[in-house]
Amino acid sequence: MNQELNQETVKKIMEAKGEVRGVTLKTDMEFILKEKGEEGLKKLEDELEKLGQLIKFHEIKTMDFYPIGLRAVSLLAIKKVFGFDDEKIKEIGLFATKTTLIIKLFVRYFLSVQRVFMKEAPRLWAKHYTVGELNTVELNEEKKYGIIRLKNINVHPIVCCYLEGYFCGILHLIIKSSRINSQESKCTFRGDEYHEYLLKWE
C-alpha cells in the first residue's frame, strides 16, 4: 500500500483497463485550488510531470474520458505533495459530490433513497467510469443503512478511500442527517472478490 511513488509504480497503475470522466480530475483540481491555491496546483502538476504524467488540470475536459489509472495517480500525487492522510483523501471524495457537474445533472433523479440506491447508483457509476459495476446489495431505511457492492475494478486502494467519501457525499444529498458515514467493508486489495461499502446514517 505504501509503496514508493515513482515513474515505475505509476506506469504500472496506468496499465489498468478502463476510463474515467475528466470531471473527477477537475474536482481534484478544485479541491487543491481551494486548499492550496494556484501555487499548490502548480506543484501538483510538476509532481505529476516528474511521474511521467503531463497533466494540465485547467485543460481537462469535464465530460471527456481519461485513463482510469489517472484517477489513482492524481490522488497519490496529491497525497505525496501535500502530505494528506486517508481522511483528507476521503474529504476530496466528499467535496467532489458537491462540485461535480455530473451530480448537478443527476440530482434530478435524487427523488428518494430507494430510487437512488436501487436504480440510479449503477447509472451514476456508469456516468463516471467505463469499468466496474455498482449495485445495491441491501437497503434498510428503517434501520438506516445500505450496502453497495462494486465489482470488476482494481485500480489502487487510494481510490477505495476516495470512494468512501464520495458515497458519503451522495448520501448527504438525499438524506437529511448530520451524521452520515460510509466504510469499505470488503476490498479486492484485502483479498475479497469485490469491494463492498456499508453506508449508515442517523
Binding site: K61, T62, D64, K98, V107, L111, G169, I174
Partner: protein, 515 residues
C-alpha cells in the same frame, strides 16, 4: 472512416458540452442575487457565490444542508407547500439565519423544478436581501415618528403661543392707557381701543401708516411732532391733543436681544391731573397776590413807624417793630417765591431773553451778599476762566435769581470761617457755573428729592428754621427753561457743590425754536 467521423462528432459534442458547462457556471456565479437549488425534500444541492456570501457558509458547508437550517422550519414548510401548490412563490418576506446565527430579512422567491415525467425534483430558491431596505424603512419610520412628535410639539407650542397672544391682546385691549406699536420701518402696527378713543380715529384708518402720514390727522399731529420722523426715546412728555385732553407720552424701544422690533408708545391721559394742578396753581397764585397786598401795606406802615414818620418811638417799640418788619419781609419773600413757582408751573416764567454775559451777573450777586459774607466771616472765591466767556441768551433777572438762590444757600449753610468757591468754565457747547461750599451737606438718603418743591434737608431744618424749600426748585426750573442742566455733589458734614450749565448761543437759538 466511419469510426473516425463518429469520433470527430463525439469530440465536437464534448467541446460543446464543456463550453456549455463553463457558460452555465459563469452565469450562475455572476448572478448577484443569492440562488440555491433545493431537492424535493429540502436539501440544498447547489448554491451560487452570492448565496454563500449572504449565508456565510462556503459551498462545501452549505451543499447537503437542509434548507430549514437557514430558514424558520415552519416558514420553510409553508413556503414549500405554496411552491408545490402554485409552482412558484413571489417575493415572500422571510428571515434567514446565517452561519453566525445573524438574522437577515429577505424577500424569497421560488420556482418548482420537475422532471420530464412531471415528477417534482426540487425547486430554485432566490433571495433578495432586504437589510438595507428594512434599515431605510426603520430610519424612515423613526424620522416619521420624530417628525410627528415635532409636529405635535409645534402644534402644542402654537397653541400656547396663541393662548399667550390672546392674553396679550386682552391686556392691550383692556389697558387703561393708549398704546401704539410702530414696526422697525416706523409704521403703525398696533393701536389699542384706548388709543383709538384718544385720537378719535378708527384703528383701521391708522394702521400701517408712517408717522408722516399720521401727521395729517389733526388729533395725531401734536404727537407726531414730538415723535419726529424716526421715533426717539421719550419719557413722560406732555402733549395737548385737543382742548381738555392732555396726554403724557412715553416711548420705549421693543427689543429682543440686540434686535429692535419696533417702538411702543404709551399714551397716559393726564387731563384730570393737569386740571387739578392748574386749579392748585391758580389758587396759590391768587392767594399769594391777595396776601402780598396787605403784607406790602404792613411793610410800608412799619417802615414809616421805624423811620419816625408817625412820631418818636421807644427803643423797646423799635425792637418789636424791627422784628415784625423782618418777619414781614420773610413772608413777602416766601410769597414771591410761591409766585415764581406758580409762574414756572404755568409755563410763563421766561419772558425776557437777551444776549448777555454771565460774569457780571455773578459779580453783582456776590457783591449783594458782601455784608452777610463779612458777618459770617466766610471766604468767597470767584474763579473765572482765562479765556473770555461768550455771551449767552438768558433772562438776566431769572439767572440772577438762580445764582442768588445758590449763593444764599451756600452762605446760609456754611458755618462761620468757611469757604465758598464759585467757578465759571467754558465748555465746547455750554458754560458751566459751579458753587462749592464747606457747609453741612445733604444727607445721602435725601439727595434724590433735593430739587423738588418745599424740600429741606433734615439736618438743615434742625439748625435753621428759615428757608422755604423752593430755592433749588426755582433754580432747576430757571436753568431748564434756558435749555441747561443742573446737578450737584454733596457729602454730609463736608459740603456741597451745585453745577448748572447754560447752552452757548447757537444751541440756545435752536432750543428756543421749540417754543
Amino acid at each position: 472512416m466511419v469510426i473516425e467521423k463518429e469520433e470527430e462528432k463525439i469530440s465536437t459534442l464534448l467541446e460543446d458540452l464543456t463550453s456549455l458547462e463553463s457558460y452555465a457556471r459563469d452565469l450562475f456565479s455572476f448572478l448577484p442575487l443569492p440562488v440555491c437549488l433545493a431537492s424535493s425534500i429540502g436539501i440544498i444541492l447547489e448554491v451560487n457565490p452570492a448565496f454563500e456570501n449572504i449565508t456565510g457558509y462556503n459551498i462545501e458547508e452549505i451543499i447537503g444542508k437542509p434548507i430549514e437550517d437557514i430558514l424558520v422550519k415552519k416558514e420553510f414548510e409553508e413556503l414549500a407547500k405554496e411552491t408545490l401548490e402554485k409552482g412558484f412563490v413571489r417575493a415572500k418576506e422571510l428571515i434567514i439565519f446565517t452561519k453566525e446565527k445573524k438574522e437577515i430579512p429577505t424577500s424569497v422567491s421560488t420556482i418548482l423544478r420537475k422532471s420530464e415525467e412531471g415528477e417534482v425534483i426540487g425547486y430554485f430558491v432566490g433571495l433578495f436581501d432586504l437589510s438595507d431596505i428594512k434599515k431605510t424603512e426603520k430610519d424612515l419610520k423613526s424620522a416619521q415618528i420624530a417628525l410627528l412628535n415635532m409636529l405635535e410639539d409645534v402644534e402644542e407650542a402654537r397653541g400656547r403661543a396663541e393662548e399667550e397672544k390672546n392674553k396679550t391682546v386682552a391686556i392691550i385691549n383692556n389697558f387703561t392707557d393708549g398704546l401704539l406699536v410702530f414696526d422697525p420701518e416706523n409704521k403703525l402696527s398696533l393701536v389699542n381701543p384706548q388709543a383709538e378713543k384718544i385720537f378719535n380715529i378708527k384703528q383701521r384708518d391708522m394702521i400701517n401708516r408712517s408717522i408722516q402720514e399720521l401727521k395729517t390727522f389733526p388729533t395725531v399731529e401734536p404727537l407726531a411732532l414730538i415723535l419726529f420722523k424716526e421715533i426717539k426715546d421719550i419719557f413722560r412728555k406732555e402733549v395737548q391733543i385737543k382742548e381738555n385732553l392732555v396726554i403724557e407720552v412715553s416711548s420705549v424701544p421693543i427689543l429682543r436681544g440686540e434686535e429692535k422690533l419696533g417702538n411702543l408708545i404709551i399714551l397716559h391721559d393726564i387731563t384730570r391731573e393737569k386740571l387739578v394742578e392748574k386749579m392748585k396753581t391758580e389758587f396759590v397764585s391768587i392767594s399769594a397776590h391777595q396776601l402780598r397786598t396787605p403784607l406790602s401795606a404792613i411793610k410800608w406802615t412799619i417802615r414809616m413807624l421805624l423811620d419816625g414818620d408817625l412820631g418818636a418811638i421807644t427803643l423797646e417799640q423799635r425792637d418789636f417793630l424791627e422784628k415784625t418788619y423782618r418777619s414781614n419781609e420773610k413772608m413777602i419773600n416766601l410769597i414771591n417765591s410761591l409766585l415764581d413757582v406758580t409762574r414756572i408751573e404755568e409755563g410763563r416764567y421766561l419772558y425776557k431773553p437777551v444776549l448777555t454775559e454771565i460774569e457780571p451777573i455773578c459779580q453783582f450777586v456776590i457783591k449783594s451778599y458782601e455784608d452777610e459774607i463779612k458777618r459770617k466771616n466766610i471766604t468767597v472765591d470767584f474763579k473765572k476762566p482765562e479765556k473770555r466767556i461768550p455771551k449767552i441768551v438768558m433772562d438776566v433777572e431769572k439767572i440772577k435769581l438762580a445764582i442768588q438762590n445758590l449763593l444764599d444757600n451756600a452762605i446760609r449753610y456754611t458755618p462761620p470761617g468757611g469757604k465758598v468757591t464759585i467757578v465759571l468754565k467754558r465748555g465746547k457747547k455750554e458754560v458751566e457755573f459751579s458753587i462749592k461750599d464747606s457747609g453741612v451737606g445733604v444727607p445721602k438718603d435725601q439727595q434724590a428729592r433735593i430739587f423738588t418743591r418745599f424740600f429741606r434737608g433734615a439736618n438743615v431744618m434742625r439748625m435753621d428754621t428759615e428757608g422755604s424749600g423752593l430755592g433749588l426748585y426755582i433754580v432747576k426750573n430757571i436753568i431748564e427753561a434756558h435749555g441747561g442742566k443742573t446737578r450737584f455733589e454733596s457729602e454730609e458734614g463736608k459740603g456741597t457743590t451745585f453745577y448748572f450749565t447754560l447752552p452757548i448761543k447757537e444751541e440756545f437759538t435752536e432750543f428756543l425754536k421749540e417754543f
